[in-house]
């Protein structure tokens, strides 16, 4: 367990660093550096004149600090955020700032603040960095790399500081902001800071306005070539309606004469009364395609897993399901299945789900296998996105092939040479290894 002193040290140093970045400008940083150097050089006032620079710069910084206490204005802020954005791609939004001051304000800047990515002490004690068992004892106990890894998972770069135009007294202005999310998930905006620099431009005074909002960041997606989903249309009892609901529901097509064995509930009483002989309703039972997009989540949550999620998202976004359904299946805290297509909603809800998919470290692949095999009879085909292609996964693929399933298998890896096609050797056009770093090119050339 990491000692509390280590946690407090990391917390304090990160707070200080954040405070310095927020409050000290680049010019202020330079002045501080010059103060330190002049203090060292000017220790003996008889040998150099650096002590004059020390007193001058220290006085300058002192006045900058005094001015920084004088910013007391009040503002209101309204942010107009999109619902979704995509990891790695910039998105724009507007922000309106309203001034409650009776004086015009110029030279102000706007700084957005995101939610604090640091873990609590309780959380920090239970965290485990992927691959932490390979670290030495000291690092494992003090958890420095664990701390950095956790923050890196949650950190996003806020929009750069934006210089604001003149705000009239009691008036409002609207500015456009642009931000590029680093990774999928949710961006939580915590507050908005309006800053004003001291006359010398060394320090920023800050007025914080609480403005919590969030944006869902969809996974990064690549352009894929025209991918045809494998498999044929299969009988789905109950038709489209039953595909989306539970219970009997059939599509009425026409009337015909009663035949022995027809259920009584199908008799059309009005027609019998008219014609004098029993007449039954005939229904159309639908045949259509249902495909599964199987996402392997049994990894350590590192870059390979993120790339696999991007690959799955790329298919969701670019594959035209047409008249078919697409079931996204993966294991998180349990086995999940989400369906899209044919009135079920487009790919957007599925992308939203993929934005929050996490790696599964406490369950076994057999859970996913079981879930897929149960639905295999009604699946036209499967697109599998694996993190590896070990024996377990190869056996799973063999089972699906044995059940008549049409497959398209993608394996995301960092070393292409380690992957053996196994049961997919006979269908090399349906087996693709995506090596990390060249996924984009491979997908576009499928």
């Amino acid at each position: 367990m990491p000692p509390a002193i280590a946690y407090k040290t990391y917390w304090l140093t990160s707070s200080l660093r954040h405070f310095a970045r927020e409050r000290i400008t680049s010019a202020g940083g330079m002045v501080i550096g010059c103060i330190i150097v002049s203090a060292l050089l000017g220790l003996d006032t008889n040998r150099t004149l650096a002590f004059q620079a020390f007193t001058l710069l220290t006085t300058l910084f002192f006045f900058a600090i005094l001015f920084s206490f004088s910013f007391k204005a009040r503002f209101g802020v309204n942010r107009d955020l999109p619902r979704f954005c995509t990891a790695g791609e910039p998105f724009k939004y507007r922000i309106t700032i309203r001034s409650f001051s009776d004086k015009a304000m110029d030279g102000l800047s706007l700084m957005e603040k995101l939610a604090d990515p640091r873990p609590s002490f309780a959380k920090f004690q239970t965290l485990r960095e992927p691959g932490e068992e390979q670290r030495n004892r000291f690092d494992t106990v003090f958890g420095f790399y664990r701390w950095n890894w956790y923050i890196e998972q949650r950190r996003n770069n806020p929009p750069p500081e934006r210089v604001l135009p003149l705000i009239p007294p009691g008036g409002e202005i609207t500015v456009d902001m642009e931000m590029t999310p680093l990774k999928r998930g949710v961006i939580r905006f915590d507050s908005t800071g309006i800053t004003r620099r001291d006359p010398f431009g060394l320090l920023r005074s800050l007025v914080n306005i609480k403005s919590g909002q969030s944006v869902v960041v969809l996974p990064n997606r690549y352009k894929t070539a025209d991918v045809r989903l494998p498999g044929v249309r299969k009988y789905n009892q109950g038709g489209v309606a039953l595909a989306s609901h539970v219970g009997d529901s059939e599509e009425f097509m026409s009337l015909r004469d009663y035949r022995a064995g027809d259920p009584l509930r199908k008799i059309h009483w009005a027609s019998w009364a008219k014609s004098g002989k029993p007449v039954v309703k005939e229904y159309q039972e639908e045949y259509f395609s249902r495909h599964a997009l199987i996402l392997d989540t049994f990894g350590d949550g590192g870059k390979i897993f993120e790339e696999a999620v991007s690959v799955a998202a790329s298919f969701v976004a670019s594959v035209d399901t047409g008249e078919s359904f697409l079931d996204l299946m993966f294991v998180g805290t349990k086995a999940y299945r989400f369906t899209s297509g044919r009135g079920m909603g487009g790919g957007e809800p599925m992308l939203e789900i993929l934005s929050s998919v996490k790696a599964c470290t406490d369950k076994h692949f057999s859970l996913l296998e079981k879930a897929v095999i149960e639905r295999a009879p009604i699946l036209s085909g499967c697109v599998c996105v694996f993190l590896q292609f070990d024996e377990e996964r190869q056996n799973f693929v063999k089972r699906l092939i044995g059940m008549g399933g049409q497959l398209r298998v993608f394996v995301v890896t960092d070393d292409e040479t380690k992957i053996d096609a196994g049961p997919m050797k006979s269908s090399p056009d349906r087996f693709t290894v995506l090596e990390y770093g060249s996924v984009k090119d491979r997908l576009s050339n499928l």
């Binding site: 550096g33 006045f63 006359p199 010398f200």
Partner: protein, 665 residues
């Protein structure tokens, strides 16, 4: 990030050149660096090229450092500081003639500069370079008002760019004027405070530092109040050599003797120095009579400004390997050097007996009137007058050992009572000065000529240095008594004084000793006149190191020359991707009243200005925005083909924009 203001670097360099009297260098550097503003020729330097130049500057710095510390011609570390603008001027020149001017901070790292992500975290090297110039100017130490004036000018000029627009200009000027005035007052106050503190510290440590010992007078700490402060600083190193010698045996190092006591101070009467002539080799000096034996005591120490008293030892006959201009001795046994090296390394050859001290006279038997009653009473009690000289020594030694104890506490004065009398009658505890003074008086009362002798007891053997180290706290006072026709040392201070003084050592003492030893090794090497001169091999090694670093620096550097518009270069903003044609299109459309607001992204801008007239231009530009953004923000940039596509596309858009009339919103 903002460019530094025009000509600020040049001004700073000229100021530096004037103050350090290196005007030619200042003018040359200023001309080259500021000349970059007037030329359209720029080079496409990459971060690796900056790193190579930085390595080269480091190699030059090492060379300068070696030169300064071996030349011995009055150069010191301040010389290196003064030359820094020249040393790092090469990097400043390269940055000035570079397209981007942004240097990744990792370039300056000692190790692992190529690790971490590709994103550049840059800084403009010019501002740190200006700070270096000012630091170098301060090292010139020209004590007039002009340094402060120049400093204020540079600071004002640099800060103008960063001023906040929230305040009117008059307030900025007023605030700066107050800062400059207060800063000047602060610097005057700081200098006065420094002088005051320095004086107090010199007084505070005066007793425990080996300052220039006065052969004619020595003050004691007797009569003071408090605790005797002792220094753990190593002042000298002693190495014994000879037949059957225990290397760790203690040695008494003598500085001088005194024969007249008055009011807590000892003086010397009739002790003028007589200059000696060296022997034929010019470095051996005969101090006493007799033949030097095989026993030698080698002493290394520092002599401030090359003049002062040298350490001597009992039975010294000759001083060997002593390269001094003048060596004088007096009848007290003090040896005075003039124009000797500041780093002294000499050897004392010992004989069978002391022959370098003059015969006693009436001063060596005098007892001050105020001590006569006390000393007389004790001498009577001990019946010293009836004893033989050797027995007197034994009785006196036993008397002090049994009835007195060692202490560093200073009990001050009681009215007009002499501290020695107070020591003998009341306190019965004190440090070596008390014991030595009291012993001298008692021996004189017994009819034995005696003198008060000061010096150091070299007793602490250092296994690291393989010699005896002498610290400030080893300063000692004892008695020289004349018995049997010769002078000999006699010490009644309890032997526990050595361990009692050592208790005052600090935890940092071993670390300080290590640094002291390293410094001593360097000094020994620098001052050695042995046949083996290491300057050349070390110099060659360092030149080879420099050549290696230079070749590493220049390997793989290709100069790709580019030409950029001087108007774009003169803007107040540093923009990577400044050569993107989209800026030209922006200016073109601005003339039609469709300019981009500073806070607008390009996408938002073209969306805003889209109308029937601009639609063809927008259609042409829209696909190019991604290329432009990558050119600006992507650390890997864009390929030549993509740049060509961008230029062609923008060119076409500019042509279309030429057909648009004025009057857009």
């Amino acid at each position: 990030m903002k460019y530094p203001p025009q000509f600020l670097t040049g001004f700073a360099l000229l100021f530096w050149g004037w103050q350090t009297e290196m005007m030619i260098a200042g003018i040359a550097l200023a001309t080259i660096i500021e000349g970059a503003r007037f030329t359209q020729v720029k080079y496409d330097f990459k971060q690796r090229d900056f790193r190579n130049v930085w390595n080269l500057c480091g190699a030059i710095f090492i060379g300068v450092f070696f030169f300064v510390y071996t030349s011995g011609g009055g150069y010191d570390f301040l010389t290196i500081i003064k030359w820094l603008p020249m040393i790092f001027g090469l990097l400043a020149v390269v940055v000035s003639y570079s397209e981007s001017r942004i240097v990744d901070y990792r370039v300056f790292r000692l190790f692992y500069w190529e690790r971490a992500g590709k994103k550049i975290i840059g800084l403009d090297f010019t501002y740190p370079y200006i700070a270096t110039i000012i630091a170098a100017t301060s090292a010139a130490n020209v004590r007039d008002i002009w340094f402060y004036a120049g400093l204020c000018a540079v600071m004002t000029w640099a800060l103008w760019r960063f001023r906040s627009k929230s305040y009117p200009v008059w307030l900025w000027i007023l605030a700066l004027a107050i800062v400059i005035t207060a800063g000047f007052a602060g610097s005057v106050g700081l200098q006065m405070a420094d002088s005051y503190v320095t004086e107090r510290m010199v007084e505070y440590f005066a007793e425990s530092l080996r300052e220039d010992t006065d052969p004619f007078k020595t003050h004691t700490a007797m009569g003071q109040l408090g605790k005797l402060k002792l220094s753990e600083k190593i002042l000298a190193r002693v190495h014994r050599a000879g037949v059957k010698i225990n290397l760790a045996d203690p040695v008494l190092l003598i500085e001088s003797s005194y024969n007249t006591y008055r009011r807590t101070a000892w003086y010397t009467a009739r002790s003028a120095f007589k200059d000696l002539k060296p022997e034929k080799n010019g470095v051996t000096w005969r101090i006493g009579k007799g033949t030097p034996g095989p026993e030698r005591i080698a002493i290394t120490t520092e002599l401030k400004k090359g003049s002062g008293l040298a350490f001597s030892v009992e039975r010294a006959v000759t001083f060997e390997s002593l390269a001094a201009k003048k060596v004088g001795v007096n009848r007290m046994g003090a040896v005075k050097l003039t124009s000797a090296p500041e780093f002294l390394n000499y050897s004392v050859a010992l004989g069978k007996e002391s022959t370098n001290i003059g015969s006693p006279d009436h001063f060596d038997l005098a007892i001050p009137k105020n001590l006569e009653p006390v000393v007389g009473a004790i001498a009577k009690e001990l019946k010293l007058a009836t004893l033989r000289p050797e027995t007197v020594l034994a009785v006196v030694s036993r008397y002090f050992a049994e009835k007195y104890s060692y202490s560093l506490e200073l009990s001050g004065r009681r009215g007009k009572i002499d501290p020695v009398a107070d020591f003998l009658l009341r306190t019965k505890q004190g440090h070596c000065e008390f014991f030595a003074t009291a012993t001298v008086m008692l021996l004189r009362k017994a009819g034995l000529p005696a003198r008060y002798t000061v010096g150091y007891l070299a007793h602490e053997y250092s296994w690291l240095e393989k010699s005896i180290v002498v610290r400030g706290r080893d300063a000692h006072a004892w008695v020289s008594v004349y018995i049997g026709g010769k002078w000999r040392s006699f010490d009644t201070t309890p032997p526990s004084w050595v361990s009692a003084d050592a208790e005052n050592s600090t935890l940092l003492e071993p670390l300080k000793d290590l640094f002291s030893y390293i410094g001593w090794l360097i000094s020994t090497w620098r001052n050695s006149d042995s046949d083996t001169d290491y300057t050349l091999p070390i110099g060659v090694a360092l030149v080879l190191l420099m050549i290696y670093m230079v070749s590493r620096s220049m390997g793989g550097t290709k100069l790709n020359r580019t030409k950029i518009s001087s108007k774009e270069d003169q803007s107040g903003e540093i923009r990577s991707g400044a050569e993107s044609g989209l800026y030209k299109l922006e200016k073109k459309l601005a003339k039609t009243g469709r300019g981009r607001h500073p806070w607008e992204t390009y996408s938002a801008w073209i969306a805003r200005i889209e109308d029937n007239e601009t639609r063809p231009v927008i259609k042409c530009v829209q696909p190019l925005l991604d290329l432009h953004n990558r050119m600006r923000f992507d650390p890997t940039g864009i390929t030549e083909t993509e740049k060509k596509n961008l230029d062609e596309g923008v060119g076409a858009a500019i042509t279309l924009a030429g057909r648009i009339s004025d009057g857009g919103s």
